[in-house]
């Protein structure tokens, strides 16, 4: 990939982020913060790549810690978000029934 292509992807992602988020209602701010928190756990991809190629104890420890941190970030983030949103749905159901 050329440098310009990478910069293009990054800048467009930022603009999409600005556009998509600015329409979210206040009541969903906490779940949204938690969901975006889980999404930046995509750094686990980086963790997997470095641990996968790691050689030697020091590098394996660095990679291993990154994988553990990343996994906690991704999984914990999605679980907490789902618990919050589950309540919103429960509330809807009560209202419609």
């Amino acid at each position: 990939m050329t440098l310009v292509a990478i910069v293009t992807i990054f800048i467009l992602a930022i603009f999409v982020g600005l556009e998509v988020i600015s329409k979210v209602p206040q009541t969903l701010h906490t779940p949204l913060m938690s969901a975006t928190n889980a999404i930046h756990g995509v750094i686990l991809v980086g963790g997997l790549l470095i641990l996968g190629s790691a050689e030697g104890l020091a590098m394996t420890i660095i990679g291993g810690t990154a994988v553990v941190f990343g996994t906690l970030n991704v999984v914990g983030g999605f679980v907490v978000t789902d618990r919050m949103l589950e309540m919103f749905r429960g509330k809807k159901r009560e209202k419609t029934s």
Binding site: V24, T36, L51
Partner: protein
Amino acid sequence: MNRDWIDVAYLAAAVCFILSLKLMNSPVTARKGNWVAMGGMAAALLATMLNPAIKPGNLALIAILVVLGAAAAVWSGRKIQMTAVPQMVALLNGLGGGAVTLVALYEFLEASNAGITPEPIQRVTTVLSAIIGSVSFSGSLIAFGKLQEILPGRPLTFKGQQFLNMLLVVVLAGMAVGLLTVQGSSVPLFAGLVTLALVLGVSGVLPIGGADMPVVISLLNSFTGCAAGLAGFVLMNTALLIGGGLVGASGLILTLQMCTAMNRTLGNVLFGAVGSVIASSGNSALAGRQPKSYSVEDAAILLTNANSVVIVPGYGMAVAQAQHQVKEMAAKLMAIGIDVKYAVHPVAGRMPGHMNVLLAEADVPYDQLYELEQINPLFPETDVVLVIGANDVVNPAARYDKSSPIYGMPILDVDKAKTVIVCKRGMSPGFAGVENELFLLDNTVMVFGNAKTTISKIATALDSY
């Protein structure tokens, strides 16, 4: 496996992330949105495992660490109380920041060990993602400590603190430039850079009051996203570029919206040290007054004699886990024909929407929840307002007292109601460290005690009327 297929999976993940954020625009589709993001994440992670750079010999270790990490995350994520969600988000965000720093450190060391000099863009982004990731890691841990009350929630300040932070930023910038201009690579300089960035995260968040932590966590969330996006440049990875870029942008928007809700600028939140001293009430007419303390029975009588009741929940309700008792009490009031509404201030609790989540947990119907703009015109016609553990968001000083740290923040005008009942543990000031003259007004009565105990006692007392 063909590299193209991995990139196709990353594209699918990116589309899922964007769709997920879009689905989160509405409470009806929000949960589905979270699932879509999970699907995207799974696609990105599975595709990554097909990368030929991952040695078969390391697969077992990866599997063990991912399974252990996932098990720990699912266990703690399910077990945690809903009130502790803000600090959990802070902690998870810090771990994400830490992971970014470790990835940057690894890439730096690997290039250094191999004696190669990476492309300029990669050198710059390695240094930047290490700095931002480190600030996010240590800053989030401090935010976690403040919310968990391991550290004092009050701003911790000392003379020359802002000067120290400025100095840290300047030295960090100098070191970064040094790292980028020096031939080859200097491991001690990189280690020093990471250490200093960790110190900056600590000293940057310590002087910020506990009440402002949601804004700080949201900002650090944006930082971690940004750092992850920059790590995408280092690893030439589109999943990181897009996922990180999306979160970096969205976190910033969310942060600014939180500041707007408090009628403050981001600069004021970060450097204002609001709440470091207890500001006295600006209304001298109330000086020397004592609050009126009522028993739960008296409070119950006031409630039963009302036609309309507005409940204002706050952090006190959250810490006491009193939302179920509140719902139960409200049901009893409604059963005897009293109109009950809930007034939800945008920043009540420790995070925007915190009260909505708790009331939803207790199955309070949507249509009883009123936002600030909807409920404020209704207060003059309200008989009784029941404030449960809210403080700064109902402080009338925000309307007129220019010397008050919370001056200008939109508040719930509960003091305009005929009677205000305040349930509170004691007379201590709120999270912003400001005294509240509402408690001294003629139409205000106080019921002291833990919110859960008080509300369930009131509910019991209601049975006898």
